[in-house]
Structure formats: structure tokens, C-alpha cells
Symmetry: D2
Subunit: 187 residues, 4 copies
């Protein structure tokens, strides 16, 4: 494990999600304190800033299901929140995505993930995480890395369809609705 | 005046700020209802979205003083707020500024300008205006139009210096401080 | 008309919505500039600030339909936005409602009402209005004035039901969904 | 230590700030992951929601200095953010403070505390914490608990005076300025 971790310093996978900790230490942390997370919803915008499309990754969720998901990950010890947002976007969308991290420090919503699915409606079986969620326009070419099966761009209307929502687990569909509300595009 | 207005349908100047109205009608409106305005603060950002510079125009303010100012203007009848932000940025910074209008609908602050300078600390001798203020990253080349004497890019630290603040009238210096607070860069 | 206006100095009705203006002047203003409005959604909260109920008035909407509606009205010349919110809440909910106007200056959303129902999805046949929308906890007894037929308190779940949404016209149902998103209670 | 902890299950002091963990476990957590915190700034408001006073505790800061401070503390494993805000307010201001936790889920700013004082300007020598900051009107009688030497109510103008700012360490003065900006009262 130590070798694997040292060879993946960029926190590229779930296995090293809480890097620099042994599996036992990781278990201890996850059992005792909420983790700091960021969620980033990649969007395409027109010249007046209107959201035209939202990007969703198809990948294995923390609960083992295959789900459409936004970009998400842990904030590391010593890391600024905005640097964590940039790191996870580059990791999941590739180096040519050209994300435009927003200048403000406040997230558009705060998502509280709990091991208990009924606690807040946002579910992560691994831990309690408090996640700062940002909407991030991306201007470049997105090439999802090997962990994701697919990246799909949906219009706001498509993102609100029941069929789309059923493909999202753990509350990811609700997060998407909150994002649409933030940009005034909730149906 | 009528000729001039009809030749400048894009609302390019203070003289036609409330276009399509005769001077008498304009006076009537200004004396009876608050106007809807937008303020836009052009900023330069780094790849993680940190504000590195704020852009200030040097121009004649509504009270006749020469002041460093942000981009500001009226929302027209029938116009969406974000289209007004884009229009005023292009008008004041030129067609190559490439502003990145934020996707959200909420302003970072609401500025209430009054003819009475003591009413809110934000002053416009011409009218009562309620202005939605946005921070807008601009990526391109800015060429201020003839109405502005100069466009200056200041670091957040420079923008908070007393000497800079004294060059701003009508509460524009306070607006800049509110913008810095929004991005966490208030000294 | 002058008599009627002077007898209703508190702007208590649609007829004097744009007070101190003759009907002709009112028409002029409405045809040429967007008006500044506020929307206020009365809510009941528990001790941790969770929204337990949202208050909706049953009244005649601007388009003549009977609709469930939030509190809404114009900002007057010379009036601060927060004073307008307080005035309209007291007017519509009675003097014992004890509204707790939020300390922040930013609305949770900005609603753009247009005479054209397709322009933004928010519709007012009378005019173009830009409305700052606030969520306002009310702690006291609410007694809607004569203009409203009824005040109903709905749970967040009830407020999202299709049957409830069908009782709201002009986009009021979407405004309610945006409010629920703001407090994290969107289904 | 175990006895002390079990006798203070309500997380009433710095010593048990990360409850249910042995000192060794606490050290491990603090050295490896950022902690989730909340900051709450108690304010007095008038009937239109204007902030008239801000409450500051005089107490020993994490760096051992005596500082004027806002209410602050950790979010526990399994705890909702708003419940943590309520718990810390009641702990620090007493059971009669009647805090009005805001209904929205988003903080007015996010404060990143680091062991390195130069990393963000917000300093906590004990750990890296990401804190969600809320402004909370309090309506009742505040009786600070024994940990605080004093609770002082300052006007917005007083809170911005250099003399006041010098009595605050670790960036608490900047947090107060961000709060004033949020309510439009930054000088």
C-alpha cells in the first residue's frame, strides 16, 4: 500500500482518497470526524453566462452503484478549498478542461453526506462529509479519466427529467436541482 | 437631442442613459420610481479563480467629479439582467474584453444609490437606483471607450489603500471593499 | 383618484401600486423602465432555523387569476429595500406577524417578471419588474388583510406537490421551488 | 482525562473539542485532515433587520492570547451544521440567548484556518479547519459561560475601529469585516 500511495501523489483514486494515512488510520478518522469535501458541477455557458449544459460523469459511486455524478473529492490537509476544486476537476476532466473556478469563496450550497441515507437525503456509506459545492464553467475539451465510464453533457431541461434523476444515486440528483436553482433554471 | 438618441440606439452614453424617453419623460421617471441598475467589477483571476487585479475606469461621475469607477448602467425595459451586464461591459471595456458573466442570478451585493448622499452612503445626484453588483472575470484585451480617460488594474492590496479610496466618489470605494470581501481578500 | 390615493397612503392596493403618479404617468413609467420589486416568502422555522412551513396567500394575481402567492410589492422612490420588505409583509400579514427581516442585503434570488410570459418564465402582464426575493421567518400571528382570501401554511413537501404548484400562476410555483432550494429542502 | 470527557458530554470546552478521541487519536486526526468548523457572529438587529450591534467574546484564543472572538467550534461526527451552530451559541451565550439560526444552508463566508499564520491570514496553531461562518441575530439575554471573560456589544462603526481590530487575533478582525460587508455596513 505504501508503494501504491507514493506512486499516486495526486490523490487519483478512491483507494488513496485520504492519502498519507494507513487503512487503520483512515478508518479511525472516518469514524470520528466529518471530512471536508468539495463538489464541482462542470457547466457550459453562453457569452451572457447562461448555463446551456451540465456535465455528469458516469462512474461507480461510493455505495457501489453505477451513477451519474458530479466531480467530488476531499480537501487535503493544508490545501486551500479552491485548489482542491481545481485539482479534482483536472483529475476527473483531464488537463485540457480549462475550468473557470469562481472567484467567490462561498459555495452555492453545502451538502452534508451521511452514512445514514435518511439523515439529510445525501448519502455516502463511507463517512460523514461536509461538502462545499461549486458550479464551474469549463471552456476546454474534457477527457474523463479511466475511473469514469463516460462524461455526458445535459441541457438544464434534460437534467431535470425523471429518467435522468433515476440514474443518480446518493442524492446527486438533488444536488443537480440545487445547482439549477442557483442559476435560475429550475423547471 | 432626438436625432442624437435615434443615432445611438445601443445606449452608448450618459445622455441617453434612459433611452427612448424625452428629457421631460426621463425627469418624470427619475423623480418617481427607483431605477434598476447593474454594477460590474472587472477582475483578472488566476487558474484557481483567485482575484489578482481589479479594473477601475477613470471617468466623470454623475456628480461631475473625476472618479475611479466600476462599470455601471441601467437595465432597459425588456432586458434580462445578465444581458445588461454584458452590454455595459462591452460598451465600457470594448469588444475584445471577453467578460465571463457569472452563471448565478444573485448579485454579490445590492447597492442602493440615492440623491441624498447620507441615505445609504451610495450617492447618485440624478436618481434613486437599486443596483445589482457582479464581479466579472475578464480574459481578453480591454480598451476603454472614449468616455473613460483610463482603465487601471489594481491588486487587491492597492485597491484597499487610502490613496486609492480617496480617488473614488459616491461610495465606489465602499463597493470595491464589498467586492473584496466577497472574494475573501479584504485586508 | 387623487382622493383615493390620499386615503391610502400606505400603498395598500393594486390601484395605487405606483403611488403618487397619475394613471397616465403610471402607464408611461411601466411602458419604459423596469420597476424595482421585492418578493417575500414568509416561513415558520424551528429553533435550529429549519423551515417547517411556508406561507402562501390566496389572492387575485396581476393577470386576474386566483393564485396562491407570496408577498410582493414595489420599492418606492426613496425607500430602502429592507424597509419595503417590512412594509409589504406588514401590509399583507397584519401588524402582529413579527417578521424577522434577514440582516444580509443580498436576495436569495432575483426574479425578472415580464409582460411576455415566455421571456423568463415569470409573468406580470402589467410591467417588467426586477424583484429581489427574500425568505422571511415570521414569529407572530398572521392575519391577512382583506385583499387576500386566505393564508395557508404548507410544509416543504406540500409546497412541492404538483397539486400545489398548479394553484400558482405567473411563475410563483417556481419561485417557491427556488426558495426551497435555498434552504436545502428541494425534493 | 477519560473521566473529564465522560462528564462533559456536551463538548463544553477546548479540552474536549474533539470529543470521544484519546489525545493520541486527536493528534492523529489534526495532523492529517482539515476539521469542519462553524463560526457564528451574534448580532442585534432592528425590526427591519439592520444590524445595530455585534457581540464579541473576550477569551483565550487557541494561540494562548486574550482576544475578542466570535462563537466558534467543531462540527461533530453525525451532526448537522445548523445543529452545531445552535449548540455552540447556546454553550457560549447561555440558554436564554434565543439565537435565530438563519434558514439558508450557505454560510456568508468560508474561513480557512491554518497552523501557518501566513497561509490564508486566518490562524489556528492547533489544526487546519474549514469553517462555515454565519451571522446570527440573537433576541434574548446573553450570559457568557465561564470560559469567556466578557461579552461586549459593539456598533458596526466601533467594530471597524483600529483599536477594536487590534484586540482580535488570528484573523478574527477580518472575519468581522467580512460579516459587516455581508450586511452592507462596511465603512
Amino acid at each position: 500500500m505504501a508503494d501504491q500511495r507514493s506512486s499516486t501523489p495526486t490523490d487519483s483514486g478512491t483507494a488513496t482518497e485520504v492519502g498519507w494515512l494507513s487503512p487503520e488510520q483512515l478508518e479511525l478518522v472516518r469514524a470520528h470526524v466529518p471530512l471536508v469535501y468539495v463538489d464541482a458541477i462542470p457547466v457550459r455557458v453562453d457569452e451572457a453566462g447562461r448555463v446551456t449544459h451540465l456535465g455528469l460523469l458516469l462512474r461507480m459511486a461510493a455505495d457501489g452503484s453505477i451513477s451519474r455524478m458530479v466531480v467530488s473529492g476531499r480537501v487535503r490537509f493544508g490545501e486551500r478549498v479552491r485548489d482542491a476544486v481545481l485539482r479534482h476537476l483536472e483529475k476527473d476532466l483531464g488537463p485540457m478542461a480549462l475550468p473557470r473556478i469562481p472567484p467567490e469563496v462561498t459555495p452555492f450550497t453545502v451538502v452534508e453526506y451521511f452514512p445514514d441515507p435518511d439523515r439529510s437525503g445525501f448519502h455516502d456509506p463511507r463517512h460523514h462529509a461536509v461538502s462545499l459545492a461549486f458550479l464551474v464553467p469549463v471552456a476546454g475539451d474534457c477527457h474523463p479519466t479511466q475511473e469514469a465510464l463516460e462524461l455526458t453533457w445535459l441541457t438544464p431541461a434534460e437534467a431535470s427529467e425523471p429518467a435522468t434523476r433515476r440514474e443518480m444515486t446518493g442524492g446527486q440528483d438533488r444536488l443537480l436541482q440545487l445547482a439549477l436553482a442557483h442559476v435560475g433554471l429550475l423547471p
